[in-house]
């Protein structure tokens, strides 16, 4: 079975289930805003290089948990999981894409920060995410403070870029555009460490025995859907949809679907437990 068909079928099955449950538990969603209704489909921005949240699988199809969330919202809003237009967004272009009306919602590993809240609105958080660092296996870097005086690779516009600028401004940074660029730069020794969302690095470290995680969590933020400012109707709809996903246990199902068994507890925690404290 091809992936789109698989996705469609899963979504349909979910829909049927949801219809049944909906009647019972009265999880009715608020009315869809007129503008979205008129568009006839959901235009969502998702990541394409951040497994397991948003990525392209081997055959180039959209995949991942946040992609699944976007498809689910389309299914609820329009009665069909096909009524969706997915766009790949990057850390540095996702907010401009939203503000430029290329997409109507971001489900794109978007951390809640005050700088971003100035220009866009956030839904209620649906998970949290911390940051970590990836270093070569034999690196002397054992904890966060060990990067003082070294070069750290990161993505332009990432939570980590902001965090290092505010918290450790003396650290030399190399800011690239995509996660694959950053990983390559680390492997070629252009930086001493590569910092990103822990969720992303866990997958990379599991696959690549020449690298290891530093394991000190920092810059923990809530992840939420991003919407343009001042659209209370759409916000109410998205918040209700996210609450319904949680109530129906969809996150756990999607973690099972998109995360290899040995990494599942890490991701399940991010969706179900409270945000831990770290610097």
């Amino acid at each position: 079975m091809t992936l789109p068909r698989l996705l469609a079928r899963t979504a349909l099955a979910t829909l049927a289930l949801a219809a049944g449950l909906g009647a019972a538990s009265a999880q009715a969603l608020p009315p869809l805003p007129k503008a979205i209704q008129a568009a006839g489909l959901l235009r969502a921005g998702v990541r394409c290089d951040q497994p397991p949240y948003g990525y392209k699988d081997e055959s180039g199809n959209f995949a991942g948990i946040e992609t699944e969330m976007a498809i689910q919202i389309a299914a609820w809003a329009f009665g069909s999981p096909d009524r969706i237009e997915l766009t790949c967004v990057t850390a540095e272009n996702r907010i401009p894409q939203l503000m430029g009306r290329k997409v109507d919602i971001l489900l794109a590993t978007l951390g809640v920060t005050p700088e971003r809240a100035r220009v866009i609105d956030f839904s209620k958080p649906y998970r949290w995410g911390g940051s970590d660092m990836l270093v070569p296996k034999d690196s002397p870097i054992k904890k966060l403070d060990d990067v003082a005086g070294k070069t750290v690779v990161m993505l332009k516009g990432s939570t980590q870029a902001k965090w290092f600028e505010d918290t450790m401004p003396k650290v030399e940074t190399l800011r690239l555009n995509t996660a694959s660029d950053a990983l390559q730069a680390l492997k070629q020794g252009r930086g001493d460490a590569y910092t990103h969302d822990a969720a992303t690095l866990v997958v990379v470290a599991a696959k690549d025995p020449s690298l290891r995680l530093v394991g000190e969590s920092f810059a923990v933020t809530d992840a939420a859907a991003g919407l343009r400012k001042n659209d209370p109707e759409w916000m109410a709809y998205v918040d209700a949809a996210l609450a319904r996903m949680k109530a129906e246990g969809l996150y756990a199902k999607w973690v099972d679907k998109w995360v290899p068994a040995d990494l599942r507890p890490f991701y399940a925690e991010a969706f179900t437990t409270a945000k831990p404290t770290a610097r």
Binding site: M99, R118, R175, A185, Q188
Partner: protein
Amino acid sequence: MEFDLAYLMAQGPALMRGLWLTIQVSLLSIVLSVGVGLLGAAVRVLEVPVLDRVVRAYVEFIRNTPMLAQLFFIFYGLPGIGLKLSLFWSGVLCLTLWAGAYQIENLRGGLATVGKGLREASYALGLTPWRFFHLVAAPLAIRVALPAMLNTAISLLKNSSYLQAIGLAELTYVAIDRISMDFRTIEMFAAICVIYLALVLVLSFLASRLEFRLNAPFRH
């Protein structure tokens, strides 16, 4: 969102640092690429065996592949075969190779206007091919090629903005980096467009001065 001039002023120092790097990397690459152009054009015009084919292949390769692909090849590809250049020198190498290919063609076009008679006359006077090239042909050819060479130099300056992709903190990098943190898209892109425009105008002015100087023998 309204245009926020105060924000732009606050970003001034960061933009100036980016501008300085853009100027350094561009000027160095312009000078080096003219050198590459002169050498390559000499090889082509003097029909040096073997090298002539190498230069031809180089020009075709550079002209027919995207510069961004060349840049990624230099930055991410070359370390695989043991050549790891710093960010700065990766940028200079990429821009020099790119513009060098065009300068070869520009100068070759200029050299085509140097008649066969001049070459025969020079050889008859006992000039070696190399002396003919740098004493007779090159000075004449550069006058003709100068407008095209300026075009290439301007393109080089603008193409230096590609270097943001490898993380070199030049002008465009600074703008994109700040936008991705502060989301002041209009202010930042407007600012760097004005700065690039000013840079190109200065470059054009310098080139027109040079053209004036070079044409001194033909003025009355």
